[in-house]
Amino acid sequence: MIAFVKKYEGLWLFVHSSAAIIAALVAALIFLGAVFAPWIALVNPYDLSSFSLFDGLLPPMWEDGANPKFILGTDDQGRDMVSSILYGARLSLVIGLSALTIAAVLGVGLGLAAGYYGGRFDAIVMRIADVQLALPAILTALLIDGIARGILPSAIQQDLRVAVLTLAIALSLWVNFARTARASTFVQMNKEYVQAAIMMGQRPIRVMFIHILPNILGPLLVIMTVDLASAILLEATLSFLGIGLPADSPSLGTLIRIGMQFLLSGEWWILWIPTLFLVALVVSINILGDFLRDIFNPRLR
């Protein structure tokens, strides 16, 4: 019942917040574009035969000398910018969402167990979390990436880039989930329904995931939105630093790194259009996250 009213109220607030609506629209548009990229993109940026060097460095359609076929122009290889961005956003979102899922499963699982069992297990998990919080996410991700480079044989390294990157991001983001889940679980542990379930002899796993988890979803949802933005930013930053993905499978960050070469020349679109997309995506996810936080925390309203 309470959840329903909250949802209803949330919807009401949503309709009345123009920033949230615009943010949701922008995010949805980029999401859809990324999902349907293989069907709507003009060329496939991974397939060398689908574009030609003769179309290189064409400006966006509203500038002089443009080919209207390429709405946002082309890069030096003749790749259509729209297609590159759609595929880039696709890769960014795939990595961001999978890293987020791994981080959420790991973090929520550990946080629930830490809150449920308390004691020594809780202490160990929280000390690890403390140490990791002291290390900034970028540093953690860079380190994991560096270790992977050292351990994995070089033959399979290129194929595993995406997996390594996803894991590096996931392992630097789980702490938020663990801390939030643990704190909320502590609150729920004293409630009668949990005590009743334990008294009835239900298994810990069942109490944790069937009884407690649904009641702590609210704050976790907020963390999820905020951390999706962080995951996308982290991936973009690592790719920009040249540590993330190789140049032949460009994510948004890689596109910006490639675009940097054109900073001093006149081809502004190769750099600024992917940048604009990345910032628009992250800003709208953050606005949605802020909005969700306001809904779940009525004191801030």
Binding site: I138, L142, G146, F240, L241, L264, L271, V279
Partner: protein, 324 residues
């Protein structure tokens, strides 16, 4: 008081040992040091001889103790890539990163604290709403994009400031500083702003939250009721009590400054430790990676120790509780 300081110092030593252990494990288990040091034409016997000579066959605990002992003596080993002593490589990069970080921190405090106070005192003002909206966009723009934008506007379009390197530096007793030449300052400005922007939003939000909390407290209400002038109320009574969290911020932000200095240094080709760390990752130069970690952890522990001691110096309540 003495007990408190001693306890904190013992804790710091344990943190450093943990980090040293991490660095040691990196060095020992990520790839084989012998294959890194020798070429393909080195015979197996020679490799084994080198392994024995370097003590890599000794018990694990013994190796770790020797590793830590060497570090305390300032011997950090040699880089796989350049064959230079790692200690020299890192030491020559420390001034650049430290100057960049400190100037960025000062920028973030000089702008962030007043902005935080203002937005807390006038929560419904138009300027407040604008500032809050700007910071939301500000945290969403990745550091490297801010750097590129600054390069584009002030370096390329206006041509006012240099876009890479440290400019003119002065050698002061082994410390290569860019703070004493105009050229150096011009080169420092863009990277420092880039690094400061993200920290600035954090500072502002924390100061704002803290200030709003204090303004709601009983003693402020009482002072208000007593008719204390508004300016004195805001700046003497309220702001003084928000200073403790501000000091925490400096401690907390240090980690962020170091992490984002990696990104900033990469954008501006600033020859600091972050750039060195990035290169070491790219070439799997494990000794440099490990020592970077230890050095960063050392600064981190040091800053947090000083912050904790400052607390006691600033907040008399902590002193009383400690004595009892």
């Amino acid at each position: 008081m003495v007990y408190f300081i001693l306890k904190r110092m013992v804790q710091s030593v344990f943190v450093m040992l943990a980090v040293a252990f991490l660095a040691f494990s990196l060095f020992r288990f990520v790839g084989d040091p012998i294959t890194q040091m020798t070429g393909v034409e080195t015979s197996v016997e020679d490799q084994e001889r080198l392994r024995e000579e370097l003590g890599l066959n000794d018990p694990f605990v013994y190796q770790f103790m020797r590793f830590t002992g060497d570090m305390l003596k300032g011997d950090f080993g040699f880089s796989y890539r350049t064959r230079q002593p790692v200690a020299e490589m890192i030491a020559s990069r420390i001034p650049a990163t430290l100057e960049l970080g400190v100037v960025a921190l000062i920028i973030s405090l000089l702008v962030g604290v007043p902005a935080g106070v203002y937005t807390a005192l006038k929560p419904r003002g138009v300027l407040t709403q604008t500032i809050l909206m700007t910071t939301l966009v500000g945290v969403s723009i990745p550091t490297f994009v801010i750097g590129i934008m600054l390069i584009f506007i002030f370096g390329v379009q206006l041509g006012w400031l240099p876009t890479f390197g440290r400019g003119g530096t002065v050698q002061i007793g082994g410390w290569e500083s860019s703070l004493f030449t105009i050229d150096g300052w011009r080169a420092l400005l863009l990277p420092a702003i880039t690094l400061g922007v993200y920290q600035l939003t954090l500072t502002m939000r924390l100061v704002r939250a803290e200030m709003m909390e204090v303004m709601r407290s009983d003693y402020i209400r009482f002072a208000m009721a007593r008719g204390v002038p508004t300016a004195s109320l805001h700046y003497r009574h309220a702001l003084a009590n928000t200073m403790v969290p501000v000091i925490t911020i400096i401690g907390l932000q240090f980690g962020g400054v170091i992490a984002f200095s990696i990104v900033t240094e990469s954008v501006f080709q600033w020859p600091g430790m972050g750039l060195l760390f990035l290169e070491s990752i790219r070439f799997v130069d494990i000794p440099v990676m490990g020592v970077y970690l230890v050095v960063i952890a050392f600064f981190f522990v040091l800053v947090n120790l000083v912050v904790d001691l400052l607390y006691v110096a600033i907040d008399p309540r902590l002193r009383i509780r400690d004595v009892s």
